[in-house]
Amino acid sequence: MTDSSLDQPLSILVADDEPHIVRVVSFKLKLAGFEVLSAGNGQEAWEILSDRSIDLVLTDHQMPYLTGLDLAKRMAEHPRTAAIPVLMLTARGFRLTPVELQGAGIVEILDKPFSPRMLLDAVRRALDVADEESDGKEAA
């Protein structure tokens, strides 16, 4: 959409049924130069994944229709989406057991309320991109 960067920006799919979470996450990610697509539940996220090329998925766990874990497992089963790293958000105090996590390509789990800054760091880690542009814009 924007022509500020010649490189195709990395695209991130954000799935959460809480709009304010999607909002905060999108804001931080867009500011950092990522293209952001959003989905209000797991099913919607899966549909987007089916016809778009996505570099990373950031999903809430507790969502109607298809949970974050189900989404991650479904992604792992399909060759087209298996390699996409998944970051998952979970409610505070909620713990997923190693058995539950088996077969889902989840690279990191973040507790809510998460720190948007730490989340951005986690995204960069997962995509292995350096922090070229600091958050200077926000402070201005």
Binding site: H20, R23, R92, P113, F114, S115, D135, G136, E138, A139
Partner: protein
């Protein structure tokens, strides 16, 4: 809401793009004057270069700006073929919120000599410009008044969009900051467990603050009145200033809010004092921020963190006080036994230290070690209930007197049993005279039936009894005591614990013993003196 405008672009850029479709150029007018498009900006097209580059147009607009804006509904011809549509947006109360001029080139520009003159002064190729202008299909002079309302409406829409976008951005930014704060405060609250490890809490607080605030370093310096952490410094990250360096920026301000300041050699630092009950307990200092200078959001967050540290430090301090009071109370009870029986003065203290050391040597966990220490301290508390005459008797005890002495574990148990906080110590009090072979008292328990705590206290108790002077005998030499304990392994004592005990270092114990003998002597002198007076 869907918008035809791409997000995040400036009003100038959006207006320039929209106006270019009919030969228009946008010039914003601010309070301090006209904002001419920057000709060095690659986005600026030939129209802007013609208008901005041509001094006559600029001069004409600048000179007539006031009258143009005074009649915002009139279009003005500033030069043949160049018309200006003033656009002014007024907010509530008629205050202008945004103003600008749409400079429109008309077909007249191509007919008259104006174009060659403009191209000449703007140093542009006339043939090229004429070609571009013709292709762009310039409007007639007459149609400009009809275009004007559309341009004004466009300006109003673009202005509203840009403002909405700015508001949206600031709301999103606030929301993100609120999330940062929520996350930090949550993780700090998680650490605010009473009795939790104060050092671990301070370390994690510094670490969390560094991560959420994007600081290269975070340091907490605690003052001398900061309870159990007094005069300690906690640092997370590299390059934090020392306490001495910080002293240069610390002042006696009573203000507890966080502030940003420059610290020579460290750049901009954020500092918040940790305050409790009107006094300063220490300082929380952050610096080396990667994301630009400290804003009020970061300072608010720093202040909140300092507030949490203050709550924690005061809790830790109260907890330490309570613990000291508890230990003091136990020691007062022990002093009461010592006062009754000067021969055993210091016995409880020594058994406490030995029990603790033995628990450590066995490899028991920290809380057990603490229990062993306290249990050793109070194991003989029941002697308060034994007649003084029996305790002080130097000759052989008769059966009745011996029975009285043998009551002390149960008496001690009864004294302490209603204090819930020391329930763990009770086995050591009640069972420290039980014997491995079942021939002890009061219950005659044997082997594993005897609580481990009591088996530990029992060895330490016997060892100290043999090591100190008693009413009925002098202290025995260490070798003899060791031999006796070894002999009793498996009969009186737990055979697994005995070798551990004998392998311990008794240096600290010997110091306590020497001190105790000295105190006993002086206490005995007082007691004897009184005895003579009474007699």
């Amino acid at each position: 809401m869907t918008s035809v405008f791409a997000s995040g672009e400036s009003l100038e850029l959006l207006m320039a793009r929209e106006l270019s479709s009919f030969g228009g150029v946008w010039i914003s007018v601010r309070e301090d004057g006209i904002v001419w498009p920057d000709p060095s900006d690659s986005v600026v097209a030939w129209r802007e270069r013609l208008v901005v580059g041509a001094a006559p147009v600029r001069t004409e607009i600048e000179d007539r700006l006031e009258s143009i804006l005074a009649n915002p509904l009139e279009t003005v011809e500033v030069l043949e073929g160049i018309q200006v549509i003033p656009c002014v947006i007024r907010g509530s109360g008629g205050v202008p919120e945004d103003a600008g001029l749409a400079v429109v080139m008309t077909a007249t520009l191509l007919d008259r000599g104006s174009l060659s003159m403009l191209c000449n002064v703007a140093r542009m190729d006339e043939t090229l410009v004429r070609g571009l202008a013709t292709a762009g299909d310039l409007p007639d002079d007459d149609s400009v008044p009809h275009i004007a309302p559309l341009v004004r409406r466009l300006h109003a829409q673009v202005f509203a969009h840009v403002r909405d976008h700015e508001i949206q951005q600031s709301v999103d930014s606030q929301l993100a900051d609120t999330y940062e704060e929520l996350h930090l405060l949550n993780s700090l609250i998680d650490g605010l467990v009473v009795g939790g490890d104060p050092e671990a809490f301070l370390e994690s607080a510094c670490r969390e603050l560094a991560a959420t605030g994007g600081y290269a370093w975070v340091t907490a310096h605690i003052d001398e009145n900061g309870g159990p952490l007094a005069l300690r410094s906690f640092v997370h990250g590299e390059g934090a200033p020392s306490r001495a360096d910080l002293r240069r920026i610390l002042d006696d301000r009573q203000d507890s809010s966080a502030r940003a300041t420059q610290l020579a050699g460290y750049g901009e630092v954020g500092i918040a004092s940790i305050r409790g009950d009107g006094t300063c307990l220490g300082h929380l200092v952050v610096g080396g921020r990667t994301g630009g200078s400290l804003s009020s959001i970061e300072l608010t967050l720093l202040g909140s963190a300092a507030g949490h540290l203050s709550v924690f430090l005061r809790n830790a301090s109260l907890y330490a006080d309570l613990d000291a009071l508890f230990l003091g109370t136990l020691q007062a009870m022990v002093a009461a036994i010592d006062a009754k029986d000067p021969y055993t003065r210091g016995h409880s203290q020594r058994v406490a230290e030995l029990s603790r050391d033995l628990a450590v040597a066995i490899g028991l966990p920290d809380d057990f070690v603490r229990t062993a220490h306290l249990s050793g301290l109070v194991h003989d508390i029941g002697k308060i209930g034994v007649p003084e005459a029996v305790l002080k008797k130097s000759g052989r005890l008769d059966d009745e007197e011996f029975a009285a002495i043998r009551q002390h574990p149960q008496i001690g148990y009864r004294i302490l049993k209603d204090i819930p906080q020391i329930r763990d110590l009770l086995p050591g009090v009640l069972c420290h005279h039980e014997s491995w072979d079942g021939r002890g008292y009061p219950a005659g328990l044997s082997r594993d039936e005897i609580p481990l705590l009591a088996r530990i206290v029992a060895i330490c108790d016997s060892f100290d009894a043999m090591s100190s002077n008693r009413t009925y005998r002098r202290a025995l030499p260490r070798e003899e005591i060791f031999a006796e304990i070894r002999r009793c392994a498996g009969s009186q004592f737990d055979p697994d614990i005995v070798p551990v005990f004998l392998g311990m270092d008794f240096e600290g114990y010997d110091r306590l013993l020497a001190q105790g003998i000295e105190e006993s002597r002086s206490a005995l002198r007082i007691v004897d003196g009184r005895g003579e007076e009474a007699a």
